[in-house]
Amino acid sequence: MKRNPKELEYTHRQVSRRALFVGGLQAAFVGGLAMRMRYMQVDQADEFRLLAEENRINIRLIAPARGELFDRNGKILGQNTPSYRIIIVREDAGDVEKVISDLSKLIYLDPEDLERARAEMRRAPAFLPITLADQVTWEEISKVAVNAPSLPGITPEVGLARHYPQMGDFAHVIGYVGPVSDYDLSQMEDPEPVLRIPRFQIGKVGLEAKREGLLRGRAGAKRVEVNAGGRVMRELSRREGDAGADLQLSVDADLQQYTQARLEGESASAVVIDCETGDLRAIVSAPSFDPNLFVRGISVADYKRLTDDPYRPLANKSVQGTYPPGSTFKMVTALAALEAGVVGPGDTSYCPGFHKVGNRRFHCWKRGGHGTVDLLLSLKRSCDVYYYDVAVKTGIDNISAMANKLGLGVRHDLPMSAVRRGLTPTQAWKERVHGEGWLVGDTANSSIGQGFMLASPLQLAVMSARIATGRAVTPRLVKSIDGVEQPSGAGEPLDINERNLRYIRNAMYAVSNDRRGTAYRSRIIEDAYRMAGKTGTSQVRNITKAERAAGVIRNKDLPWERRDHALFVCYAPFDKPKYAVAVVVEHGGGGSKAAAPVARDVMLQALYKGNPPLEAYPSKDRERIKEQQERLDQLRDRVTPSDGNDRA
């Protein structure tokens, strides 16, 4: 088909025109692209650069080393020991199941742990390390390390774990740490990011929990470069954290250990307080448990054994257990009466074996009665009637106020779990809580530390120290923090007439040293260390009229949980008080038999800083004490391993 040149010329011009038009559109579009590129890369570059950095850089926390715990002599109570674990990286392992089965031929792998590890592996990216076994021994680690070439993807790792070399001795004081649980996190307002580190340990109970803020330290951080999958490519920078503060306790580990051993077999508690500084030299609750079990994660069977034990090993009886103080409360009643001026030390009461308050008979523990008693005699022989009489004259509110002054019914601020306030009833209190008026019979009951009255062994020890010194001795558990001495608990002088105090002290001296005193058998012979004390036996049941008529059932014929609590409080040396001790033996029977000997042994141990010479004991006891010392020495060797590295 021929075309004429004119048409050719026309079409060519038309194509050119349209090509230029389209070219113009294209040029405009390219210009637009260039503008957009300039806007993003020049005007907005900083914002995008920031976003790219955020993408790229991750902050990873470095767990700080937890502060360590020492006793007053520098003995380690809580430390961080290397803990070995075995981890697997799935992408390096290849056939995971084969590697695991090879590994299980070398070392024992807990099936429960394995199941958890498998579940973790299914969720996590292939390059993340997963723990297969925790707390493995050095021998096992060595076996794995030697066989490493045939175990692809398996690496032994070392971390830090809490260890308590004193085992059960400090379980109630220090408590224990454990991994952060979801529950822990839910309890916190704004949890620190460090708590999200897997397997990070925090204090769960006791000092570890109460001083968590001091012990935890500050986490360090490292900046790492990660890729889109979250894999760490390299470390960019690193700032080490600050280790937690080291705490030195006021407790003497040797005395604590002795006391724990001495209470072996009982459900009991003992507290030794320094009269001069308020330092708690020993604060023991028996039986105890091994806190290391909790650090590793206690087995169901072990935990059940602890909770099912009728002696309640998990309970911290020294501060958490509150008991009717019984006759150990009589010093409070007597002091309140003396201070109120209702009786003088020479005034007497007549004890026929009972006292009528209102129209109810209140019995003395001695059915036949004590006859005519004054203050000294009433305390020495623990006559109840004298106190019924005196208390009614004094009034319950005066008695409670004196009890509070001496440290009963007030909460002592110790960094331990479940520190209880106890109870010193007043008229207003009963009106408020029970909605009933105060009865004069309540006063009689309270006067001998029964009825509503409740006190913990710690409070009883504080009471003894305050009577001994006349000062508001305050218990102190933490002696120093990172070497900085904490304020002493010596306390200000109590607003109590020194003469009145001296009457009480003399009476307490008589309890322990007078031939007819209730604690005479548990006296100290050494003149420099003479002891003043007071026995107590608190009823945990009411004696019915029928029972009384039939003759009071002897304690040892009762089932254990209905027997009386045995109590004893004391301080020594009498002339220059150094230590005050309180002992409570749950359902132990009479205070003079069950509690006073323990208190004396502990007191001597504290005074002599070790086993006392037998000469300190009355001569007829020496043979028995010698045997006891040998037995306890053996027991102490068994209970506490010599060094902290043995962690079977």
């Binding site: 090509a19 389209v22 294209q26 300039r38 650069r49 976003l51 993408n55 890729n227 889109a228």
Partner: protein, 379 residues
């Protein structure tokens, strides 16, 4: 035929044709491809494998194909247009069949040494056919309805076949390139005006009907459109890619973060970093300077093509050259708009730079046609 109307005496013959090739265009193509090699080397973490080396081999092959196509007189290619078009259609059918057997959307035919995508081939053969059609059609008839409907059908048929694969990106490119061919050929403005008006009207109707009684699409279809237009509604899917792409591009700044220093691509934050999103790596590592340079190279290629088209008196030559230039333009314009967050993600590679065999091979063959038109032009 039309070529015979011109003077043949000045046309080079034999090996002398080499000298008359459009060498600036060839050099531009080599430069752009080299940028591609560099980026593929970088995204592989400083390695020729797995992308840069195969790409270089294919480029060498592509250059050879371009030479061969360029040596053959342009009128031969015009005469082959119908055959080429029908072959492409047949291949599209073949893919359809093989794809059905192979359970899934298969877009390629395995030739052993490479995978051929018939839809890529279609882009060039459609341009060839339309150029030949308008070369044959007397100018007076160009705008007559019957002669307008025929090319429209020729465009729509392969477009629908590609759409069924489904490959929305290529379908849009085919449609746009075909429309551009008709426009170059001189079809009356009114047709384009009508189509654009109808398109706008349809889109408006679709969106305005949303939530009313006469809603044109189903709700889920609207949601799909939403995600397509605004990927940020799907932040972990399409939105993630485009966000990361923008971060990479923007963080490049004026001069970039340095060769192989782009954190976004090196740390795998970028998706498809060796294919559709390779421009972001370039922009991240070489900054605005690098990105703009590539844009300039592309623009120069377009300019040289348009110049060739305007220089020749042969209608087929100029139309085919313009068509290929538009195709090429659409390629990089859509890709760059996509990675800059201006257009939805449709899966169009960056021409001559993205990793991929058949697209580059077909493009070089197409540039062979441009070269042939340049060599065999009437002077």
């Amino acid at each position: 035929m039309s070529y015979l109307e011109h003077n043949l005496k000045s046309t080079p013959s034999g090996l002398r044709k080499f000298l008359f090739m459009n060498w600036p265009l060839t050099l531009l193509l080599i430069s752009v491809a080299s940028v591609g090699f560099l980026m593929l080397y970088s995204v592989a973490g400083g390695s020729f494998t797995p992308w840069a080396e195969p790409q270089m081999k294919r480029f060498a092959l592509g250059l050879a194909v371009m030479m061969v196509v360029a040596m053959v007189p342009i009128w031969f290619w015009r005469n082959m247009s119908v055959v080429a078009y029908l072959t492409s259609i047949a291949l599209l059918f073949a893919v359809e069949l093989v794809g059905t057997v192979g359970m899934g959307a298969q877009r390629w035919i395995d030739l052993g040494f490479m995978r051929l995508q018939p839809s890529e081939l279609m882009k060039v053969t459609l341009v060839m056919l339309l150029a030949a059609y308008y070369d044959w059609l007397p100018a007076k008839r160009t705008s007559r309805p019957i002669w307008v409907i025929l090319p429209v059908l020729l465009i729509l048929f392969p477009t629908f076949m590609v759409l069924r694969q489904p490959d929305l990106g290529t379908a849009i490119l085919l449609l746009a390139a075909g429309g551009a061919m008709m426009f170059f050929a001189g079809v009356h403005w009114a047709y384009f005006g009508a189509v654009i008006a109808a398109g706008v009207g349809l889109v408006a109707a679709v969106f305005n009907s949303r939530g009313t009684d006469w809603q044109l699409l189903k709700d889920y279809q609207y949601r799909r459109i939403d995600t397509f237009l605004d990927p940020s509604t799907d932040p972990l899917g399409a939105g993630y890619h485009i966000t990361q792409s923008k971060i990479a591009l923007g963080s490049g700044g004026w001069s970039g973060r340095g060769f192989m220093q782009g954190t976004q691509s090196r740390l795998n934050f970028l998706p498809e970093k060796h294919t559709d999103f390779i421009f972001t790596t370039l922009a991240e590592e070489f900054g605005f300077v690098g990105g703009f340079s590539l844009l300039a190279l592309y623009t120069l290629i377009i300019i040289f093509c348009v110049a060739t088209a305007l220089a020749t008196r042969d209608r087929f030559s100029s139309l085919v050259t313009l068509g290929i230039a538009v195709n090429f333009f659409l390629f990089f314009a859509v890709n760059m708009s996509m990675v800059m967050g201006l257009a939805p993600v449709v899966g169009v590679p960056l021409p001559m730079v993205s990793y991929g065999g058949s697209a580059m091979l077909v493009l070089l063959a197409a540039f062979g046609l441009v070269q042939s038109a340049h060599i065999h032009r009437a002077r």
